[in-house]
Amino acid sequence: MKKQNLFPLAQPCASVGLALLLISGAASAQADTDRIQELEDRIDSLEDQLLDVDERVGTRAVVHAFDALQMDFGGFATQRVNAVKSDAHTRAAFDMGQFELFLKAIIDDDWEFFSILEFKRVASLNESDTKDVQFGSIANKADLELYWFNYRLADSLQFRAGRFIAEHGIINVEHFQPTLLHLDYPMFMRKKPGSGSNNSGSLSFFERFMVGAMAHGQTSVGDDNSLVYNAYIGTDKQNGMDYQSGARAALSWGHSGLTTGLNFGHGNHGAVVNGNSYDFWGVDLLYDKDAILWKNELYASKEDVGTEDRLGWYTQPAVRLADKWIAFYRYDFLDNADLGKGDQTEHVVGINYLPNPLVRLRATATQASFDLPDDDFTSFQLSATISF
């Protein structure tokens, strides 16, 4: 007689149960393995961070700000060698060495302080005799180039007081050497009326630095456009009563790379040009997209008395040949009225090499021409700037 199976489903059920037990055990073991692996990864990550901190700090003392939430240091250094060929002589000099130290303190979300200390050795190029252009004596300069505190009411309205950059145009806003393709500013920024000096300094079309107060901000306009604006009043001449006031608005057109700016202001030449006051205005156009970087600025002044109106402009197209190479050309024009040399022009060609984004090496050639007398000279510059 065949033995009857009283529990026909017992065997399959037991098999399923066993299978589930095995699967669940395997899954649990896998989960434990994953968890251990995750913990090991986290320990590795923490050890890396600890080693990184230890490498940076080690047994050295850690600097604390007395009261600021955050304090940052940075700066840059530049060295230039310059060879100038005029009719009479060819002269060469290590004519400029500069080191600047940045310090930024954040007091809270709304208040911050920024300053730049400048140390400079410079032999200014003297163009008084265009047939024999020569370098002046080395002058040492230590200056509190910038110091300002800033209060942020909103991104659209902030207030700044102290010594700050007069934010006109393109190059004066960028201003510092780590970003400059050519160390010499355009002529309207660096040439003084009534002076043969090529030295960058005050009494150009507008004061490049102001001691005073500025309201500034930025806001979105339309879908993608960005509007940046400022208005200021201040002085930076020997006579603290010679005020300059001005304003600028610049619109960046979406992601097109195009920025257009309008500038105007009122200033006073002080004792240099018979206490003459003047108005100035300017337009600028920047195209910065992909391989093309094209800067254009035009400034004009209307002088009250003692000198003629002035006009200065440049166009500076540049091509990014690769991430590390930039080639550029600049045509620069200046009618500086009473300089006694008529119109001046400069053709500059150059190339920049950035082996690292924080290191900029430049080679430039400049052909400078004067109307009165009809002279010109050529200069060749090599320079390096390292930023940190």
Partner: protein, 166 residues
């Protein structure tokens, strides 16, 4: 008959194991359909922007062209990833729409003009998420596959980057 039973048992077992495996990885698969990386912000951030608005806001805040989240009082605090991290590389290309060299120039420019520093780099996802949970205006980005570790107090604003090819 025995063969049928055996097949049934194996089929049930296989089904259960597949379900168990897929349950663990479901989130990652779902997220990576949108983009390989995600911008993560603090959960208290009431910023309402979506799509292009959200991308533009993150771009401006990360580059420090703006300091406050639009429509809120939260001061932005952006975090970056290491320069060789895929998330950083994709963020620079897709969200900032820049090249690495342009970004480097931007930070030099910002440093000179206002003394601002570039966002701090955070290597670990967990550390990043904890920092974001700590600051109301914080923002950072990570691979969507790591979002399983997303702690309370954080949320995803948008995803970006091509999904990883399998």
């Amino acid at each position: 008959m025995k063969l049928i039973k055996l097949i049934t048992v194996l089929a049930i077992g296989l089904l259960l194991s597949l379900q168990a495996v897929s349950a663990g990885t479901g989130l990652a698969q779902e997220k990576s359909e949108d983009g390989r990386f995600a911008v993560v912000i603090n959960a208290k951030n009431e910023f309402k922007g979506e799509g292009k608005d959200a991308r533009d806001a993150v771009r401006r805040l990360f580059l420090k062209d703006a300091s406050t989240w639009s429509g809120t009082k939260h001061k932005a605090k952006a975090f970056d990833r290491g320069a060789k991290d895929d998330a950083h590389i994709s963020f620079v290309t897709d969200v900032l729409e820049m090249k690495e060299s342009e970004l480097a120039k931007h930070w030099i420019m910002v440093k000179q003009k206002s003394g601002e520093t570039r966002p701090r780099e955070v290597d670990s996802d967990r550390s990043l998420f904890k920092m974001i949970a700590k600051y109301d205006g914080a923002l950072g980005f990570a691979e969507t596959s790591s979002l399983e570790d997303l702690p309370e107090g954080t949320k995803v604003l948008f995803t970006f980057g091509e999904p990883e090819k399998k």
